[in-house]
Symmetry: C2
Subunit: 449 residues, 2 copies
Amino acid sequence: MKQATIIGSGLVGSLWAIYLSKAGYKVRIVERRSDMRKEKISAGKSINLATSYRGWKALDEMEIGNEIRKIAIPMYGRTMHDLSGNKTYQPYGINNQAIFSVSRGEINCKLMDIAEQKGNAEISFNEECIGADLKNGIVHLKNTQTGKISEIRSDVVFGTDGAFSAIRYNAMQKLDRFNYSQNYIEDGYREILLPANPDGSYKLDKNTLHIWPRGRFMLIALPNFDGSFTCTLFMPHEGHEYCFNNLTSKDKVEKFFKEVFPNFFEMMPNIADAWEDHPLSSLAIIRCFPWTHGKTALMGDAAHATVPFFGQGMNAGFEDCSVMYSLMKKHNEDWEKVFKEYELLRKPNGDAVQDLSLLNYIVMRDKVADPAFQLQQKVERRIAELYPGTYFPMYSMVSFSDIEYQVALKQGKEQDELIQGIIKKNNINNETNNEIIDEIIHNFFKEKK
Amino acid sequence: MKQATIIGSGLVGSLWAIYLSKAGYKVRIVERRSDMRKEKISAGKSINLATSYRGWKALDEMEIGNEIRKIAIPMYGRTMHDLSGNKTYQPYGINNQAIFSVSRGEINCKLMDIAEQKGNAEISFNEECIGADLKNGIVHLKNTQTGKISEIRSDVVFGTDGAFSAIRYNAMQKLDRFNYSQNYIEDGYREILLPANPDGSYKLDKNTLHIWPRGRFMLIALPNFDGSFTCTLFMPHEGHEYCFNNLTSKDKVEKFFKEVFPNFFEMMPNIADAWEDHPLSSLAIIRCFPWTHGKTALMGDAAHATVPFFGQGMNAGFEDCSVMYSLMKKHNEDWEKVFKEYELLRKPNGDAVQDLSLLNYIVMRDKVADPAFQLQQKVERRIAELYPGTYFPMYSMVSFSDIEYQVALKQGKEQDELIQGIIKKNNINNETNNEIIDEIIHNFFKEKK
C-alpha cells in the first residue's frame, strides 16, 4: 500500500490525511505535541477562526463540511463600536453570505477524529521532527518523552507543521538556494475571554464579528457556542502611545479599557484581572521558496504563514489541500510533476494572501471607522447587488469565492480606484440617496459597454 | 580578567580578537573548521578580496595595516575586455587611489597569527557552536572530531561565523520577534585560476581589476602574487541563454569561452579541463534584526552577508569592528548600551551595503560596457578632480572614504541624476572636448552657488 507521512496534526495536516486516505494512502501523522483531545481545553484558551468559502469547499469535497457546520456560528457582517458605544454594521456580502466562527481546538479535534476513524490515518504524538532526507522521503524523529530516535520512510512526505515548521527549519532551510524570510510585524496580540451573561446568553449580537477600530490598534470579538466571545486585542508592542509595553499594571490596563473601549469595559469590568490569562503573542509573515524538494512538500502555514487579519490562514491551507488533490489526479500521482506544479501555482497565491492580510489589518483597525471608506463600501455593495456575477468586491472574492488570491488582490486594488473615481466624479456623499446612486451605477455600466 | 568569546576565526573574528585584546580582554575564539594554517592551500582554491579604505582604516587602527599591505596588490582601476579583445580602462578614483587584491586565505592566516601572537587570543579549532544562551553569554559547543560537548561562559560573546552563522541559526533565529531573511540571487559563480606565464610573469596587467562584461553575466580577474589571476564567472544558474545549467559538457564550456570570452580563451585554452576545479556556488543576501541580544552580538557576514560585487563584505565587517570599538570606549564597556547603539547605527549601513552590492553587479556586468555610462563616469570623474573635497562619486564614497554606506547610497543616486541632467542639458557626448566639459562643470557649480 502507498505510504504517506505528514508532519503535524494541526488543521491542514489532519484534513490532508483525510484527502490522502481517500486517494488510497496509508497515512502516518507525527505530532510534536501530546494529543489535545485528551487534554481539557480550558475555555479561556480558545482561539477562534473564521471559515469561509475556500475552507468549506475543501471540507465539502471530503464530504465532512456538514459535520463542521455543526460547530460553526455564521457571522453575516462586521459591527463597529465607536468610542461612545455607537454601533455601525456592514454586511460582508450579499444574500446573507457569511463567514463562520469556529474554535480552533474543536475543529482540529474533529478533523483528527475523522482522519483516524473514517480515514486510514494513524497519529503518533510526542514525536518531534529533528531532520529529514527530503529527497528520499525519510523523516527523523525524536520522542519528546522517551528521547527515542526513530525514522520513517514513505513514498511521500508533507510538512504541515505550521509557521515555525520543524521540517522546514531542520531540513529545508539547509538546502542551497532555499529562500526564506520571517518578518514580525510591529504588532502583537493578547486574547481576552468575554464571558456569557449569567443566564448563558450572549453579551453582544452573536452573528456578527465585532470590531473596536481605533486607528493604530483594535479589539475584535468572535462568538463561541457557550455564549462567550473570544476577543483579541491587536496593538504595537512598543513605541506608540497605546502599546503593550505601556500596559504594565492592572491600573494601566483598567484605565486603558475605560478610555478607549468604554462599552467593552462596561461588559467586562474585571478585564484587568483577566489580563494575564493569555500570553502576549507576536505575529509574523513567513515566506519561503521552493515549497517542495524531492519527495517532500510544505503545505499551509509551513509554506506561507500569515497574519490573521483576513481570516484566511486556515482557508488558504485547506485550499492547498484542494489544489494538491486535483494535481494528484491530473498527474496520476506522479509526485515530481504534482509538486512542481503545486508550488508554481500556489506560491503567488501564498504571497497574495499575505499581502491581503496586511491590507485588511489597516481596513479593520482604521478604515472601517472612516465615513469615506464606509461610503465606498456602500457604493461597492450596491454595484455587487445590481451586477451580481459581473462585479465582486475584493472581500467577496477572498471570502466567498475561490478566485485565486493573486487575482483578488490585483482586481480588488483596481476596483478600489474605480469606485473612488465614480464617487469623486459624481460628487456622491453620505447624503446622496439610493436612487441617485443606482442611476450613477447604471450609467457607469452603460458607458462601459 | 575580562573574558570574551568569539564564534568563528574568519577575517572579522580574528581582527575583532585583536581589538578586544587591545581593550584588555582575554579572548577565546572557537572555530568549527580545522586550522587552515596547517593545511596546504592549493593555489587553485584561492579566493581574492579587495581591501579598500574602510578595511585599511580598521587594520591601521590596530597598527597592522602595513603588515597586510605586504600581501596586497593595488588595483587602480577596471579594465574592460570586449568581445573583440579591445580594452577600455576606467580609473577607480583620482590621485592613484586604489583597491587592493588580497588572498582570503593569506590575510586570514596573518590575522589569526597576530591575534594569537600579539593579541591575547586563543583559538580552539573543530569546535562547532550548537546553541547558546545569548542573554547570559553561554556558548554550547560540540567538538567535530571527538563529539565532546562543552560550554563557555564569558562576559561577552560575538558571532562572527559568517553568512550561515551557527549561533544565529541555532540561537538567534529561535528568539521571538527576530526578523530574518536569506535570499539567493538568480546568479551563481565558479572560480577559475588563470595561471602565470611559464616565466612567472602575468598574462594581464596586474594593477587593475579585469572585467569581461557581457550584459547578463560577467567574468572578472584579480591578481595574485605568483603571477596568476583568480577569475570568477558570475552567471544565472538557469533560465537564460547563457547559464550554468547549459554548460554541462567540456565541449559546451569550450564553445562558450571561445564565443563570449575569446581573448580569455586564448590565454587559457584548457579552460574546459579546469572547469571542475572549483564547485559552482550560490550567492545570497542575508538580513536580520536585532543583531544583539543580552550579552551577544553578531558582526560581519553573520549580521549582513552580501553579494561580492562591490568588494565590501570584508570591509564592512572590519568597519563593524571600528564602530564597535569606538562605542566600547564611548560607553565605557557598558555592553548593553554599546550593543543597542551598535545595532541601531550599523543596521541601516548593513542594508545599504547590500543594496550597493546589488547595484554594482549591474554596473559591472552591463553598464561599464555602455558608452553612455562611460561618458557619465568621465564627467563625474572630472567633477571630482575639479572640485575635490566637494564632490565624491558614489564609488569613491564607498571605497575611498568611511562615509556611512547609507549616505553613499542615497547621495550616489542623487548625483547620478544630477550628472545625467548636466549631460542632457548641455548635449555633452563622447566627442565633446575636455575644455568644453570643464567649462560646463564650472558654470554648473557657479550657478549652484
